[in-house]
Subunit: 414 residues, 2 copies
Amino acid sequence: MCIGDELVSGKVVDENARWAAARLWPMGLDVKAMITVGDDPPAIKSALKQALDSADFVLVSGGLGATEDDITAQVAADVFALPLAESRRMVKNLRYFFQSMGKTPPEGIDRLTWLPQGAEVLSRASAGFKLTAPQGKPVYFMPGVPREMHHITEHHVIPQLVEQFQPDQIRKSGELLIFGLDELEVQKRLKGIAGELGIPSLNLGYYPRFPEVAVIFSLSGKQNQKADQDLAAVLKAAYRRLDGHVVAKGGQTLAQTTAHALADHNLTLALAESCTGGLIGHSLTEVAGSSSFFMRGYIVYSNQAKEELLGVSSQTLAEHGAVSHETAREMALGAASRAGTDLGLSVTGIAGPGGGSPEKPVGTVYFGLCHQEKVMTKGYLFSGSREQVKLQAAHTALDWLRRFTEDHAFLYSH
Amino acid sequence: MCIGDELVSGKVVDENARWAAARLWPMGLDVKAMITVGDDPPAIKSALKQALDSADFVLVSGGLGATEDDITAQVAADVFALPLAESRRMVKNLRYFFQSMGKTPPEGIDRLTWLPQGAEVLSRASAGFKLTAPQGKPVYFMPGVPREMHHITEHHVIPQLVEQFQPDQIRKSGELLIFGLDELEVQKRLKGIAGELGIPSLNLGYYPRFPEVAVIFSLSGKQNQKADQDLAAVLKAAYRRLDGHVVAKGGQTLAQTTAHALADHNLTLALAESCTGGLIGHSLTEVAGSSSFFMRGYIVYSNQAKEELLGVSSQTLAEHGAVSHETAREMALGAASRAGTDLGLSVTGIAGPGGGSPEKPVGTVYFGLCHQEKVMTKGYLFSGSREQVKLQAAHTALDWLRRFTEDHAFLYSH
């Protein structure tokens, strides 16, 4: 249950319910329903009663702050037919909290210390409490601030629920990120994998994460070790079937895979970006330690910049255009030679919405990758918006680097 | 109501409910509760019955595809005690749809044509239908695919609801994006604005959108024109109180504001990015038409690149370090003079997590902005993760450009 007027008016996206469900599921704890209501006592009461009718446990987030809007404690007291009472534990927690921050408690903060009588305070660091309904059903009331809600769920709610309900199913899941195959092709390649491996509980979920597709493999079992082995076998088989298209695993990004691979192989890099405008440099420098391999980037939006900064010849630009094999080749070579790096990578294309022509429509992008003066170039035609063309171009460039680090033949056979 | 196992297991974020609430609210149509359940007939039935008990209308999304999982039509028939019957309208729609795509209908697609008897098919292009519950309460069943759900809601559901319920309140809302003031300071500055303007229905919502804060101003009235005038007065007063910190409005981004301002003022730009790694160039080139003012960018991650590409002197680097007023100054001047642009903007700092020192901790970032050989430089100390430091640095740089376009004195008075 999530509580807040800002949620039911659509002004704010709630992420707490999805986050909690994703954390409960692997523990064998199923979410039956998620409900969001406004700061409206009758609606909160009715939702809470219905939840207790059909569920074994309830998590509530929101409505626990110190302002007038925050009425969850009162509503909880009403539903459980308990008086509000000052919680000595909460008074102590608040005093400690403000002392440790070196601040004086703000006015109105006392509201936080009045809880339904007998409520169990969950953590020292935030306003969260637990009540127990008939039949021993626990109800956890937590602040809506994601950081606090996550902390309480992770450290208090989940351990208590596992101890109370002792779910007998162990669930495991693993994620692979796939680039360069569309969702239907990924599905086709992974078809029948559960049967081949003899793991009937295996479930595959496909989640587009543009321009990639994430596949989440989930399975369950009674034994932890067996479940781990099964998951490892599944991921291995999936890698084989997806043949080089797995670009990251375990929630990592393509940029992370690529950055780590370049650092591990001691390969230095210079970028020459035109239509991506800095996106490749930005993506690689999101990864800590990127300064060990990423030396410099040239964002060469104008033709003049391509000539002056990278030595692309004016004849090449005039004869073949800025968006061509030849320009991509000279950009990659110029970047690597001027920077003195092992690798030079170039991207030049038409992101749109303007600038297209019948011969080179919007979405046309050429790439160049050079290593020790050997260069490969290739042209692609991407579809979608300006943002989507830039994103597909940047991911293609990162994927070229990833493939090169795995096997230099990627470049030398082209 | 949103239906899907992928939603209650937390594997996929549902955006339909929030989207619908945000679209219904301005029409005077309030969302009382949002509920998400799995592909579980008893749970769907129970949620639907409860929704009909407390609401005047219900929107359902998901569970309308052609696979075995998709059981909403059957459940709807059960709840409404209606038999399933083949819908001739839906048969016709599907035939038309596949003909227009030049495809043969896939196997199993016939399932889509069986709807609760008397269901009203909502649109020609997708599987969505309406049933009417006792007391004339409409229930709209829509596909979960956001594009289809949005289309049906916009073109069929909202017009029908407005006609049926004739909400007497007109609601208006406007958004301002604020940079450089924290949320508490924004609240302080906007306090009392409703009273000052005599608009009691005015409601302010504060939404952190790192590193900015968005404020949504909402008000209601009986008359469209009066409500528009009130909203305009509110936004004008807010601009004044926020004194230069409003960086975008109406859902735009800071990068859009800045790009449009540079283009409008015919000012050309060269960037010299160190710790932002290309993020500023990427942000500006997300805006169509950025090639008219953005000529080139230098991503100078290494000291060697700073010297070779921008002419930063080795003495400056040795005496003051790469993260200093002096280096920022030489980077900005070097970028503009070598590119021949009106403006040169530089960023050099320590994004972390490594690289900090007691004198220059992680988060230290220096900026330089030059115009016709006049330069201003300034150092900031940002907190947060590597990604957050990069983001704050990029937004500070964009904000400098925005402020300069509004008033050149921003630079010349420093």
